[in-house]
Structures are given as structure tokens and as C-alpha cells.
Amino acid sequence: MRRWLSRYWHIFRSPSLHFSLGFLVLGGFISGIIFWGGFNTAMEYTNTESFCISCHEMQDNVYAELKYTVHYHNRSGVRATCSDCHVPHEWTNKMGRKMEASKEVWGKIFGTINTPEKFADKRLEMAEREWRRLKANDSLECRNCHEFEYMDFSRQTPVAQRMHEKAFSGDIEATCIDCHKGIAHRLPDMSGVPLWPDGEP
């Protein structure tokens, strides 16, 4: 066994007889690109909405509801897809989220939310995880598209204007999700969940 290993180690280490160094470097470079590209294409596919809703758990509930909201259908025709709000765009965060996502495959196999009743029972728990995530990253996904800085407050409704001015000026410590829960899907029973930031807006 040892001998066998050391023989291969030797071949592995000895200089190539048939191929030039240049060829090997170039070949390595090209196959690197191909693998990397394939990897990224796979990553990209898993970011598409059709991937997300390939599971009925995602299609029947959250997707069906999203269709009735401003993020799917609106005056200007700009829309947000699942991954705009649910997968961080930065690569490192992206991998982190993908790792977490393996839990969903597990959930699929074991049917944690495969009926409307089970989904309803689990909804608050799942929503709370999303709120925690958005709270922790200062609603990064929302801010990828919306920024206080570019909002024309004077074109907003009076309530929105007042609240945004307070949040923007730092009068209150609040991020988008503190005030905008249920922006894309229906909410579960919210008794006990604060709808506005701590210490009132």
C-alpha cells in the first residue's frame, strides 16, 4: 500500500515528459475557467425564480401570494424575484445562504411544510428567521433597490414621509424590515410580534 502510494507520488512529482510546461499551465488555466464557469452557472440557476418554485412548497404559498403584491405587478413593470430578497448578492454571503439552503432539501425530503396546514404552522418560525436575517444586515436586500437617499419624500404619502424622515435622520433606530413586515407575502398571526421598531417610531 505504502509502496503503491509512493509510486504515484513519484509520478505526480516528476516533471512531465510529454507535455511542455506551457501547455500544462495553459490547460490548467482553461479547465479552471470551465469548472469555475460551470460552478457559477449552477449557482446562477439556483438563483432563478423557476428554481425556487420548482418545489410546490414554495410555489403554492409564498409565490402565489407574491403575485398579488407590488413587487410582482406594478405601474412601472420593475419586479423583484425571490433571490433579490432572499439570497445576498455578495459571494461570501451567497455561499453562506446556499449552505443553509441544504436544510430546505432536507425539509423537502421529510416534508416539513408540504401541506398548507404544515406551512401555516411553520410560517411564523420561518418568517422570524427572515426578519432576524434582514435586521442583522440592515435590510441589505431591500437597500439593493431602495435607498432613503434617493427617495423623494415629498412624493410619498404623509405617513411614509414622516416615518422615513425619522428613520433617515437617525431620530429612531430602525431598518426597513422593522416597519415593513409582510411586504411580499401574507403574515401569520402576529400577536406578540412587534410591528414597529422598539421604543415606538
Binding site: E65, Y68, T69, H73, S154, Q161, R162, G182, R186, W196
Partner: protein
């Protein structure tokens, strides 16, 4: 003569930049000024109901598009409920809304079940949601 050419060039360039920066009387026209309020406006051409009918439910002076109103959650109460922060400037629902038909106080949370839009309707110019607009989504069974 050869040395004058670049000099003339530089002079010309300075002149043109100076001209471009000179005070242009119409310049402020492309500066953003205070914008007038353009939010969805309440339709005041039609008097709000209570003026005509003291028992009528007041109309809603704001957009309610997509507001969830089902047995799980009623968005109206996030602003008009008793726990809503007063800074929002939304009047809390009157006590009548927390009473049953015998005048008894409803049990906690029952106000959540009120179908607000059965009595209150938006009266907006432009972007108000007419009743039964698809954007209010499917009702929960």
C-alpha cells in the same frame, strides 16, 4: 509663430470654459427645487361621508392596495389598533369597534376579524384600490 499656437489654443479653451461657467439666468431651472406634494391625494370633490351622514363610516383617505385583512392578520390595525404608536397620526378605532351588538366589549383580538372595508371605502384620486381589486389578494377561507 510656432510657439504662439499652443498659447492661443490654451487661451481659447480657458475662454470657452469661462463662458460655460458664467452665470446663466436660466440655470436654476435645472436645479431641483422643493417639489409639491404629489402623493395619492384624497378625493375632496366628493364630501367624505360623515359630513352627510353622521352614522356613516368615514371614507379612507389613503391607499389600501394589498392590505392584508384575514383571520390571521389585519393590516389596518397595525396603524389603527390600540397598540399602534400615536406618532403615525392614525386615529385609533373608536370604542364602538371593540363592542359586540349588545354593547359588551369583544374579547381581546376580536377586532382583528372586522372586515373594515365592508363599511369603510377608500376615496382616492388615482391610485385608490377599488373594492375587489385583485391586489387585495385571495381571501383566506
Amino acid at each position: 509663430m510656432m510657439t504662439l499656437k499652443p498659447l492661443a489654443c490654451a487661451l481659447l479653451m480657458t475662454l470657452t470654459t469661462m463662458m460655460a461657467h458664467a452665470e446663466d439666468p436660466a440655470r436654476h431651472l435645472d436645479q431641483p427645487g422643493p417639489t409639491p406634494m404629489m402623493g395619492p391625494e384624497e378625493d375632496r370633490d366628493h364630501s367624505r361621508l360623515p359630513a352627510d351622514n353622521p352614522l356613516g363610516a368615514p371614507t379612507i383617505p389613503h391607499r389600501i392596495t394589498g392590505h392584508q385583512m384575514d383571520r390571521q392578520f389585519n393590516r389596518c390595525l397595525s396603524c389603527h389598533g390600540r397598540e399602534a404608536p400615536p406618532q403615525l397620526g392614525a386615529r385609533p378605532m373608536p370604542d364602538s369597534h371593540y363592542q359586540d351588538r349588545d354593547g359588551e366589549s369583544r374579547r381581546q383580538g376580536a377586532a382583528n376579524r372586522l372586515p373594515c372595508t365592508a363599511c369603510h371605502v377608500p376615496q382616492m384620486r388615482g391610485s385608490g384600490a377599488p373594492l375587489g381589486h385583485p391586489a387585495t389578494g385571495p381571501r383566506e377561507p
